[in-house]
């Protein structure tokens, strides 16, 4: 495959409430930021990820094009998925060899609706959605299947929130406090917070990557896999698709300094750690991860961006970014990056 690297990453200062910005207003400054960081004004390909249901209107990505200033007209596409999959589409496009750069971005304002109910609409519309099972309830089924230890989950949340408080882009969330279950066995703090935000990544291929930055985060492997939709078809305590994607992406071929995991619930961390066979020497979610900031549709891209940022800044040599989609980790994408 052609060598492609993350050369720049930018994200908004995420908020836990609606800050009054429209999506284009959220994206405009971000795109200026990533242009400045990458040194590129225009890109061979542009791809974004977003979800109409967060805005409650069709074509929520259309106005984003106005924000990025798509003039003269650009070669551009969009996935109705987390922007991590937009990055995957851009990586594939760069494999053609005729262009050398790509802009990827994702955005979401989950403060505008009831995410828990909106996610119900992702289920089979005939047999599952009418049951009214909401996102936290089906996550709780998975947590129950895992029979995760409460102390372990509390520690994951404590660590994630502390890291988030040290990350200027993430939310300032307090230490988890004893209380009642949200949906047993999940406590309210086991759930990633409602967050508004956006993120952008620039990919560059071949020589251009080296020209644009000192230490590109070379993508040594990237792959994704989906599993059956019905929860009853899967062993919820394991993530087979993450393990498969990790194997194809070569995650086990060397020591991983950092893994940024798309954990929308605390119990997903042990499942993903096991699937990726992460050792004790791999630092998980040093950014705080989704439990400290979860701008839906950008969260997965941020995992790749944060993992790349550790290489760009010289603090890590080999990192992993993970993204997920669908109920109970149905669909998983693994990106492995390294310095050279």
């Amino acid at each position: 495959m052609r060598d492609v690297a993350v050369v720049a990453f930018a994200q908004t200062t995420h908020t836990g409430h609606d800050a009054g910005l429209t999506e284009p207003e959220l994206i405009g400054p971000l795109i200026n930021d990533i242009r400045a960081r990458s040194g590129l004004r225009t890109f061979g390909f542009t791809c974004s990820g977003s979800c109409d249901y967060l805005a409650g209107a069709p074509f929520s990505f259309v106005s984003a094009l106005d924000a990025i200033g798509a003039w003269p007209p650009i070669s551009e596409s969009h996935v109705e998925m987390d922007a991590a999959w937009a990055l995957y589409e851009a990586w594939v496009r760069l494999q053609h060899g005729d262009i050398d750069s790509a802009l990827v971005y994702g955005f979401g304002k989950s403060s505008q609706g009831d995410l828990r109910e909106i996610m119900t609409l992702q289920l089979d519309p005939y047999y599952l959605a009418p049951l009214g099972l909401d996102q936290v309830s089906f996550a709780a089924l998975q947590a129950a299947a895992l029979a995760a230890d409460r102390t372990t989950l509390d520690e994951i949340v404590r660590r994630s929130r502390a890291a988030g408080r040290a990350n200027p882009h993430a939310l300032d969330l307090p230490e988890p406090m004893a209380g009642e279950f949200e949906v047993e066995p999940l406590m309210p703090y086991d759930i990633a917070p409602i967050t508004d935000g956006a993120a952008a990544v620039v990919l560059a291929a071949g020589d251009l990557a080296g020209e644009l930055c000192e230490r590109p985060a070379w993508i040594s492997g990237i792959a994704h896999r989906i599993e059956p939709h019905y929860l009853g078809m899967r062993d919820l305590a394991r993530s087979v698709s993450t393990a498969d994607a990790g194997r194809v992406a070569g995650s086990g071929k060397g020591r991983l300094d950092v893994a940024e995991l798309h954990t929308q619930f605390s119990h997903e961390e042990p499942i993903l750690r096991a699937a990726l066979d992460l050792g004790a020497d791999t630092i998980v979610n040093p950014s705080g991860g989704p439990l400290a900031a979860n701008p839906v549709m950008a969260t997965g891209l941020i995992r790749i961006g944060e993992a790349a940022a550790r290489i760009l800044d010289g603090s890590a040599g080999r990192t992993l970014g993970h993204a997920t989609s669908g109920p109970c980790l149905q669909h998983n994408l693994v990106t492995v990056m390294e310095a050279r």
């Binding site: 007209p73 596409s77 989609s325």
Partner: protein, 382 residues
Amino acid sequence: MSNRCAVIGVGQTKYQTRRLDVSIAGLVREAALRALQDAGLTFADIDAVVIGKAPDLFEGVMMPEAYLADALGAAGKPMMRVHTAGSVGGSTALVGASLIQGGVHERVLVVAFEKQSESNATWALSTHVPFSASLVVGAGGYFAPHIREYMRRTGAPGHIGTLVAVKDRLNALKNPYAHLRIPGIDRKTVEATPMLWEPIRYLETCPSSDGACAMVLSSEAAVTGTPAWVHGTAMRSEPIFRAGRDTVSPQAGKDCAADVYRQAGITDPRGELDVAEVYVPFSWYEPMWLENLGFAADGEGWKLTESGATALDGDIPWNASGGVLSANPIGASGLIRFAEAALQVRGRAGEHQVDGARRALGHAYGGGAQFFAMWIVGSEKP
């Protein structure tokens, strides 16, 4: 250079107002199985699945790829969901082709669908994002002023749209998958229908259809059966609100066409292409796109339509299948254009086959005439 890619299987459902006999999963699976059968393959031969559809609000299923993974045999494989407004069907084909051209996979299944009977598209298109005004007009109300501006600029006579409405429906009579089949349709039939959005009459607009379309795409090494080779692919987008944007003949459409022609080595599209499947949801978009795509000089598109050049027996047939005017499962409509182009160069278009078609254009557009996806396919290797 990128790897060669070919279409080796096409599957379509019969487009109709309501498919009450199948679920959404049943609908997409029907198209997918037909495409696999055409290629002589099964789901086991597929490396990845790409699915496209128009806004999720249409059926009220958010990110339906999660639910449709099982029906499309995607479990254990990579699956992507594309959404680029009305052009999404075309973009879905291009994302699938990209996976082959980039050397990532050998065989990719691409599927697009809409089940409009489970929705109200005009409602779904008329809601608006917070803090912005809703026009509450649907697509026809949005595009009618652009058509009126085209008529003003070119002096095109008022009956041109009627001619397209008749021509495409006559073609549809030769396509067993077409939704609207109106035997004996003529200008009087169209002119007798109510005016919806001046100058668009009822029969000058597309129907609301349930339907799905699928294609199996293959690398050169994995070809089975009769291939349609991909000679060029291009996408272009431009902002919806930009002062000075020409919404009648958008720059993105011109640039996209120039890109795809360059890749295919085409300098005279009317002379060098044998057939074109172009996204014409309102009759007047035929003359408008004839100009935008370089088949006619500026202001001359309507004359080409009037001359009969774009009819099935003309020198450059447009929408031999009956086009979007005869079947419109919105998210699939672009993919149907791309698939019909492939059927033509594979010699498998049945009664609406253009004799000896060797090179064909597939075209889709969407949003406020701002998203474009195109490909050129040929019977010979590029």
